[in-house]
Symmetry: D2
Subunit: 371 residues, 4 copies
């Protein structure tokens, strides 16, 4: 190929436009990547619809991608200090932090770096190097993008879920890691919730309850580590509370993880925490207005920690990849919607309609053109 082809968002809520860009020659430290799989994230839908204030137009959507290296600008190394060479399969951290400011160096929270920019979300394709989103055959990784060479045995379809959903779940578990023998509840059986179930198991939790509305996704969570599931469509709030109390020795959960995406879940889930427990919320990704909580009973009197989680950093991506490497087949089941790259819009619509839990775009040339 001499060009990259991308689906470009030019007007919110309207069809994406196909556009081609000249393939750049990587400068020092840069990497040109031929994507094998592009992930479609729930927040892509919000960006498409113009609900995310960070988005400039025109934009190549897509912050999730795994592909093969076409070329590098000189010697480049990944996070393992391995040389990155053409043909390597690569994952990368979608967010690019400065690694030089107080937030990155003193607070050591690069996910919150005020200078952070994000592939597929915050940079327009209007200007060079153009290829800064994953709904594209290629992306150009800047010299300070953090990368991880992947084992050939790991399917790129699985790896792509680790980069955003998996890493976000890992961030939750870095902030609040359950003790051995804990009782954990997870709200939302989508990709992040499923990763939470797997991380809870990898934390030695004893009881892992997932609450959600789609039986097939709850089923997948059981395979990944959940010990119990509750279908929220077949229960009311009082029944869920009762069931969770029963599963947690009458005390409530040690930790509740919210991956449901709607803030009403927060008000309900806080009631499931035991005294001294924690509630960790990573699913609320756009403004949803005011939320009423029962502060005295659900936070103060119970000495509860309510922890907001925003995105993730490279540590979390690496942890998520390590987690999926241990059981790739199970994680592959999370991806219930595979679309040809050409059908990006169908994929977006399927996610918008909640027809699929996790959609990916499959590029036609899995070798990445590099071999």
């Amino acid at each position: 190929m001499s060009h990259a082809y991308a689906h470009v968002l030019t007007k919110f809520g309207e069809p994406l436009r196909d556009r081609k860009f000249p393939l750049p020659v990587p400068e020092r430290g840069e990497i040109l990547l031929r994507l094998e799989v592009s992930g479609v994230c729930g927040s892509d839908v919000h960006q498409w619809q113009g609900l995310d204030p960070r988005v400039p137009l025109p934009l190549i959507l897509g912050h999730e991608g795994v592909g093969r290296v076409v070329a590098t600008g000189g010697e480049v190394r990944d996070v393992q200090s391995a040389m990155v060479t053409p043909g390597d399969r690569l994952a990368f951290n979608r967010g690019v932090s400065c690694m030089a400011c107080r937030t990155c160096l003193v607070l050591r929270q690069p996910a919150l770096c005020p200078h952070r920019w994000v592939y597929g979300i915050t940079r327009s394709c209007e200007h060079p190097p153009h290829l800064v989103g994953c709904y594209s055959t290629h992306v150009l990784l800047a010299s300070n993008v953090q990368t991880l060479c992947l084992d050939e045995a790991l399917s790129p379809v699985v790896a792509v879920t680790a980069g955003c959903s998996g890493a976000t779940a890992a961030h939750c578990f870095e902030e609040v890691r359950p003790e051995f023998g804990s009782r954990v509840v997870i709200q939302g059986p989508g990709p992040i919730g499923a990763y939470c179930a797997a991380f809870a198991k990898a934390s030695g939790a004893e009881v892992i309850v997932v609450v959600g509305g789609t039986p097939s996704r709850l089923e997948a969570c059981l395979e990944l580590g959940a010990t119990h599931v509750i279908n929220r469509r077949e229960t009311d709030a009082a029944e869920r509370l009762e069931e969770i109390l029963e599963l947690t020795g009458g005390e409530g959960a040690d930790v509740v993880y919210e991956a449901a995406g709607v803030q009403e879940a927060v008000a309900e889930g806080l009631k499931w925490c035991r005294a001294g427990g924690a509630y960790v919320s990573c699913g609320v990704a756009e403004p949803q207005g005011g939320l009423e909580i029962d502060f005295f009973h659900d936070i103060a009197r119970k000495n509860v920690r309510l922890q907001g989680i925003w995105v993730s950093d490279m540590r979390h991506l690496v942890e998520a990849v390590r987690l999926v490497e241990a059981q790739p087949q199970t994680f592959e089941k999370l991806v219930d919607g595979r679309f040809p790259f050409a059908d990006a819009e169908k994929a977006l619509q399927a996610v918008a309609d909640r027809e699929v839990g996790k959609a990916v775009l499959m590029h036609d040339d899995p070798t990445g053109g590099a071999k």
Copy 2:
């Protein structure tokens, strides 16, 4: 004395009744204490008014007390393993946890023990040993009450503030301790807020802002460690936010501690936190209805930790006593209302009317009758 005299709450909202009780002979492990000072806590007012559902009648109010040992049931040791002997001045942990359940032993959070009972709040004086509240000349400390012998040089007036306000502040700082060079904001310049200022200083915080409405209390906070104060009566919310941003390098506070007692403070104070910061609330001690927060902007997007704090345990009491020992004169200024023991009701009313920041009852016989 052959009897103890107590002010007893027999009907909510009505005057306390004087009553006398026979002095008990301590059984094995028990301690009979002649109080020198009884503290009047803001929550005493709520209990008096019937707003605290834990309260049984008749009740001897008062969970704060420092006094001298009259007698012990055999050999008894304090938390320092020092022998407790008649004449010793003693502080004690107002809450009695079982030290045998999962919360105490596995979670190591005795403040949250489901079996915890509290002097002056949860046990009626109807039944023996009767003397389980501090609006009394004597209290009988059960064999599992945790005690600390005090240095003779430390005024009991100061020590009594450490037992509840100081210990609660210490609990906040155990959950979230500021890093060296942090920027901290404290809401409420009452006794807990003043202790928070002192603990923030003892944590190496660089900027310590106290927000409150009473100039004299703000002044006391400056002496204890605050670097700046903001009078909330002379500012509006936008001005306070602006001033706090200016004092925190435009980023917001690393930690905000709430000791204001009203939950509206929570909604405002969350906006003062920097991304990745923490908000620690210990002041909301009774139900105040629903609270609306801007969950996305103030918690999720900022990756903020909102930590509820409920009461305190013996570790916190010891830390607070250590803190006041370093500067007793300054802490003594926190006590702006000293009342004779007979005037308990006046003291309660003065606290209810917010005329005083911290009131204590002075017993007539400071030797405790033990020497």
Copy 3:
């Protein structure tokens, strides 16, 4: 039965003497337990031989025991706040801490309580209540012994290993818990090492290497979570270092756990840690003279944490029981020496000779006489 029968150590290094004691009636808070299984710990051998300075004579050896409740002194509750009733199967914390001193309450390290005493080690059977060791048909649990009622489905043979080996391993993992995806090495494939392998797996470690000399025990570790084993009898130090570096990406282990019991293991194992890693030692249970380490290269230059671990507390026991409940069959294999209660000395000798990894004494009446 109207009497308890015990094997009593009356002279170091000599045969145990059989002795009978009247069965006590439990006073308030006490529990009389009919043992089903008594564990034989490696340190029993040291105590038998007079190498442990804490031991008074005459002594009923044995600090590991699981049995059934015969009677209680009034209402008694276990750590789960469950009522303890005759017939219940019970595990208990062998160490009795005061739960009242600075170490217990302020530092929250009851394992290090200076007033701690231990069943089967520090109290003579000379004086009432006599039954303070587990080489006996019965033990009398004092009112402040911490207990855990066990599920009927859990074999007492398995549960008894959790009380000492398992709890000690849990203590190691409380002090230093591996991060997700960590590379861990364990020295010693005995019971503690085997528990370490299981806890490492329950921590989400990716690489878990056990180094030891007995193939059958290494095999058991593989079943419990180890991913690799190294036979130290078939390798020299240079080969072990090389193999561990290879298994840890050339960096060294994130954490090394020592459960080998000889301090030479410490000097070797420190070399296996990566820069910034940790070395956790719980196996050295008696004085072994001076140990030479290469302080600059192995601690200072590598920024390594060397953590000593001494015994365990109730939290650890509960965690260990939760761990074995998840896979009791595998843990049962750790017990490779079952002896009739009468053959306590044979069991001791077998442990002394390292013929068995974990020995237990089986009491003849598994119902505990309580049903």
Copy 4:
């Protein structure tokens, strides 16, 4: 100036040679700094003598420097995201980590980055850009050097001590931070020990004992936070142990910090730790052969944490600068040897002979030639 002038080490143990280098024009992201003060560190002496295996020749010694910006390569920002402009006074992190590898991003320990290089220690001045050591009028800061603009009010003499001694002490306190009311002992009253005393005070420690041999330095520690000092020249080991036990309630220290530089201090200081305490060693900076410790009594039985500390990262530098800003006059007293830049060798010799505790080289043009 059109040239930089430097003292160059060309042969170990021999006099430094004066050499001049053309002043480079900073490329993108680089900063040319005119030094105001160069620090002379104890490890400079080891490097001079050829005891540090990291050192290539020829070398411009000196990893401590504060100066004024001469020019920048385009727009450059410091750690506070402030624009760096000519004339600004700047401190910088002497170690340059890659911020891209597993150690930097996953373990978040950039001080241990395997790709880290250090000004004045690991890079020869043989090749461009030559100016990579602080015994020079100028240094060229690479684009990934981490910088901090300093307040004009802060003396560069004080600031230069924060960059190495202060940052190393801060690293110790990040790994092990004393709890409120702790009892702390510090070995060595040199610059690092003095910073440790100040950090201990800023941690709310109650008892802070410094042990050392030079009365004037012990005196300075008292001003910075120490509550007691012990002269090791006037005491033997038994007396020191007895005195420390007396000052720590008979229990031993909660934390001991080693800043003495000789590993024998480690063997002695471990005996001063209480059960469950910590020993933190940052002073042993070069190989000193084998060290014998009493592993059972001093580590295992006491459940002690022995923590090695290696160098520091940018977080620590910022914390140290914040600390000195609060009391610059007191910290200025640490610098007891000021030498003209021309007398670098005299300064080195004075440090080698332990005549001065902290030496600095004063450059003749304090404006840095930038104004």
